[in-house]
Amino acid sequence: MQVDAMSAEPRALIVEDETLIAEELRERLSRLGFSVIAAVDSAEEGVAIATSERPDLVLMDIRLKGEKDGVQAAAEIRQKVDVPIVYLTAHSDRLTVERAKQTEHDGFILKPFHRRELQSTIEVAMQRHAIRAKTKTQ
């Protein structure tokens, strides 16, 4: 896991186009011990910040404003940097979920968010990434 020089808190990026839902996530993540470096509402910004800042976690909404959706953004991020990506989705987005499952990701979180679910999914995602990083360096 990449550790920021300034603080030991893991750094998270939120890509979600509903500002208030992003704010709820920011609040929940900070309660789980994350520092949220940014909450952006477009795929393009998400890709830009993820590649330049290399956060320890990306929470990616599947439906986004603009031309690209979360699945495309996640694929682009993964091409450039290896960071754990967790999709945010609703029950009904089954078709998109099927498409998202084809891409590389580390977990799914169903809306609405519940503290325990959020916590366990993020933990699993970050562990998967850590194992992947370890096997790569070996």
Binding site: E23, E24, E27, H91, P112, H114
Partner: protein, 395 residues
Amino acid sequence: MGSVRLLEWRPMTTPAISPDFFGPSRSAKRPLYFVAAVALVVVSAFLVWPSLGKDLLATNFLPHLYCYLRSPGLIWTHVVADMLIGIAYLAISVTLGYLVYKARRDIPFHWMFLAFGLFIIACGGTHFMEVITIWIPVYVLSAAVKVFTVVASLTTAAVLPFTVPRILTLVQQAKVSEKVTAELRASEERKAALLREVHHRVKNNLAVICSLFYLQSTHTEDEKTIQIFRDMEKRVHSMALVHESLYGSDNLARIDFAQYAQSLAEDILASHRKPGAPVQLKMDLEPVTMGVDLALPCGLILNELISNALKHGFPNGAGGEIQLSLRGVADRECTLSVVDSGVGVPPDLDVSGTKSLGLRLVRLLTQQIRGTFTVAKSDPGTVASLQFMVDQNAS
């Protein structure tokens, strides 16, 4: 091009544009009259001119055979060619006749097809006569057949130009009608997309309200106040999920309530996860679809019933089971029940006089959907059940 004018002009119905000179298609007996008239003319000709039959079949000429100098190759080439042409003409006429007979009401200008058929039969007749006159010199009959062919072909040729503008109009109308159909289909698709978008927006707005409740709850330490926000969040979520189910389904008017109930129950259970023994969720849901008007109150009621069971049924971290069942009887009457294995309701529980907001909501919403609600202690736990009617046709 006056496509707009054509659009307003009149719907495409063939009888309205059938011409009058050969008779409109509305009378099925007309061909019979025509045949009878021809028969009458032929019979009266024989009556007026009794020797007609004899003259018509006169054979005091040289058979064609001699013209061909009895050359077998030439004779048989003529015979076979004329026979085949005659048979082909006959076959075409039979097909045209059958087509007109089968689809008379739908084919525009069906009399035109009949005229063609008659003309082609006559042409076939002349070829058959060619075959006969090689051996039997019935040249008078052969000439009569030719005269008939002249009448049939000239009539068809004379009438055909007059129908051209009408046929062109028809083709134009068919084009316009095709365009209108495509436009209608596209408009239907746009409408469905718009409706889907509206449900998505409504669901999003309700999700934002849930976030607002959560954010507000983070500004207080008081457990009771926090619980109030949690309850409100869940109620709004149960409504959001109805709209989510709608835009995610093919039918934008009705939701699959079994699927909805499953999603809702899983969400409520996830939000209640506490340390201690787990509460298991068991579901036995029959497929029942309902419109938004019914799904919204039913969803809110279900939310209260499951939440109540979790809140009051299993105190002090006790584990257990919640059984959710949905039964649709004869597509009309529906029973939704929540059975928990918890501590059970107090024996003096009075649903109509309760001060709990949850049960008050259940009572009011049950009234709204004209259902009946019962809650009883079972051994162990509680049985809460809601009965209501589902109108299969209402949206």
